[in-house]
Structures are given as structure tokens and as C-alpha cells.
Symmetry: C2
Subunit: 86 residues, 2 copies
């Protein structure tokens, strides 16, 4: 069973969030990965899992400590996504 929350999908019994980000070129993918890394470093939190190749990044987010889907982190990651610019 899966639900949509914005562009993110909840997966599994726990409130894991999943979203796929697509890019036209590796340079854009790399910029997004760099931004994700900076966010993780600044916050001391990082996604449960990141799976990426040259033109996509799949991100999975753990629930918050209270067991809710981590919408706040999802929105902050959405804000990093610039699929066509460079």
C-alpha cells in the first residue's frame, strides 16, 4: 500500500518516504548530491538510503522519532531539486 504526499510516496508499514528525482545530465545529478550532502552535514541527519546513477537519485527517508513521515526533511530536499538548471 502506498500513498502520495506531495511528490513523495509513503512505503511500508512505517512512515518511510520515497521520491525519485530525475535529471538530464550527470552534472545536475552531482549538484543535487552535493546539496544533499551539505544538508545532511548541516543538520546531522541524512536520508535512510540514497540510490543514484548518472541521471536519477532515489531518496528514502526514515520516519521522525515520533513515528511520523518526515515531511519537513522531504520539503527541504524538494527545495534543492533543480532538474533543468545548472
Amino acid at each position: 500500500m502506498s500513498d502520495q504526499i506531495g511528490q513523495w510516496e509513503t512505503r511500508g508499514k512505517t512512515q518511510t518516504l520515497f521520491r525519485r528525482f530525475n535529471f538530464e545530465r550527470y552534472a545536475q545529478t552531482r549538484d543535487f548530491m552535493d546539496a544533499l550532502s551539505e544538508l545532511a552535514q548541516a543538520d546531522g541527519v541524512h536520508p535512510q538510503n540514497i540510490n543514484f546513477s548518472s541521471t536519477y537519485v532515489n531518496v528514502t527517508l526514515d520516519p521522525t522519532d515520533s513515528g511520523q513521515a518526515n515531511h519537513l526533511l522531504a520539503q527541504r530536499i524538494d527545495a534543492l531539486y533543480k532538474p533543468t538548471g545548472h
Copy 2:
């Protein structure tokens, strides 16, 4: 069917190489990811797929243009791996 080549495993009919790198802390994982990114940027090549979390990085390498397992890239990635240092 899978074979071992050093610490890497060939997977599938094509000569894809796969290796899991384990780390004690996220800071080490991040350093390894940064080094991988620099290697990709310098060479203009990047792994087919990278899947990582706080304490591991799974790397899959495409075969070379001639269809052979990419041992050279595997060895260069091995050289970046510092599981305990920082």
C-alpha cells in the same frame, strides 16, 4: 552465478562489478562519497549505480566499452577506501 575478483563480485551475464564498502561512522562514509565524486569528475566516468546509507556504500560498475569487467576503476575505488581512518 557470481565470481570474486579481489573484493569485487561479478554479477549477471554482463561483466558488472559489485562491492559493498562498510564504515563505522557517517563521517567516513561521506569522505568516501566525496572521494568517489572527485574521481568521477576527474575522469568523466562514474559508477553505474551507487547505493548508500550512513555506514555503507554499495557500488556497481559497468563493463568497459570492450565488454570486460572494469578492474581498473574497481582498483581505483578500492584505493579510496579507508574504513577506519578519518
